[in-house]
């Protein structure tokens, strides 16, 4: 029952995020979608992922998008693309969703009873990260620093060039 509420919330947020005219409103509904998703994760028992989702997406990525919106003055001619491509896009999306739904419905792997709630304590995640996933941890650290410096230089570089 709780799951359906959060699922509905998430989908509503997502649909609103891509359909609202005002950019800032769409970002706020995107935040709603992320929060709904975090709640679903908590329901599924992955506490760490739920909180990480809020911390990363709601706390940082959404604010980044908002800053970008405010920095780039949209000059008013935004909105839906021409009517034709709108229908075409809708058609493709429905096709994609149809195939996925059919695949889920007919696959046989899902029919056995749900196993008991698995344990994902911080202790286990910590050790798993340090032991089995040590290499990916180092790589992700490297990647994040590279992305950070890259993003900063791209945005900052432009600043100095102004007269």
């Amino acid at each position: 029952m709780l799951f359906t509420i959060f699922a509905a919330l998430t989908v509503a947020g997502a649909v609103a995020a891509i359909s609202l005219r005002n950019l800032v409103h769409s970002v706020l509904s995107l935040i709603l979608a992320f929060a709904g998703l975090a709640a679903v994760y908590l329901l599924l028992g992955a506490q760490f992922i739920g909180f990480a989702q809020i911390l990363v997406y709601v706390g940082a990525v959404a604010i980044l998008i908002v800053f970008t919106i405010l920095l780039t003055r949209n000059d008013g001619t935004f909105g839906h693309s021409s009517q034709a491509s709108w229908n075409l896009g809708a058609l493709i999306v429905i096709a994609v969703f149809g195939t996925l739904a059919w695949a889920i419905h007919s696959s046989t792997a899902l029919h056995h009873a749900p196993p008991p709630q698995p344990e994902a304590t911080m202790q286990q995640i910590g050790t798993a990260l340090m032991v089995r996933f040590a290499l990916p941890l180092e790589v992700i650290g490297l990647l994040l620093t590279a992305a950070l410096i890259g993003a900063a230089t791209i945005a900052l570089h432009e600043k100095q060039e102004r007269p």
């Binding site: 989908v11 998703l37 028992g45 760490f48 992922i49 997406y57 809708a90 698995p118 993003a151 945005a155």
Partner: protein, 103 residues
């Protein structure tokens, strides 16, 4: 309608909504929002299969989501920086006008 299939249904719905966003909107920022939604849909799949899948104590699903969140955040940051720098030159965020390769 087992819980696993409902999760998968939700994530596929999210994925298609994100995909629709990418296809139908002309504003670069909204395309990024669409991509974020698609990434989140994928994360939801991982957690669903970790929860209802065969060997949950291996924590592979959870680990994968952690790294995917990290990558997604990095990608969002770089994407937004690109949008800002393009806006500085073209004074627009409409992707249709970003077709010329000149500097």
């Amino acid at each position: 309608m087992t819980p696993l299939s409902s999760c998968l249904l939700l994530s596929s719905l999210l994925f298609s909504v994100g995909f629709a966003g990418v296809l139908m909107r002309r504003n670069a920022i909204l395309i990024l929002i669409g991509i974020e939604l698609m990434l989140n849909a994928a994360n939801l799949n991982f957690i669903a299969f970790w929860r209802y899948g065969s060997a949950p104590e291996a924590l592979t699903g959870v680990m994968f989501v952690i790294f995917s969140i990290g990558v997604a955040a990095a990608e969002a940051a770089v994407g937004l920086a690109l949008i800002i720098s393009i806006y500085r030159h073209r004074k627009t965020t409409q992707i249709d006008r970003m077709n010329s390769m000149r500097g």
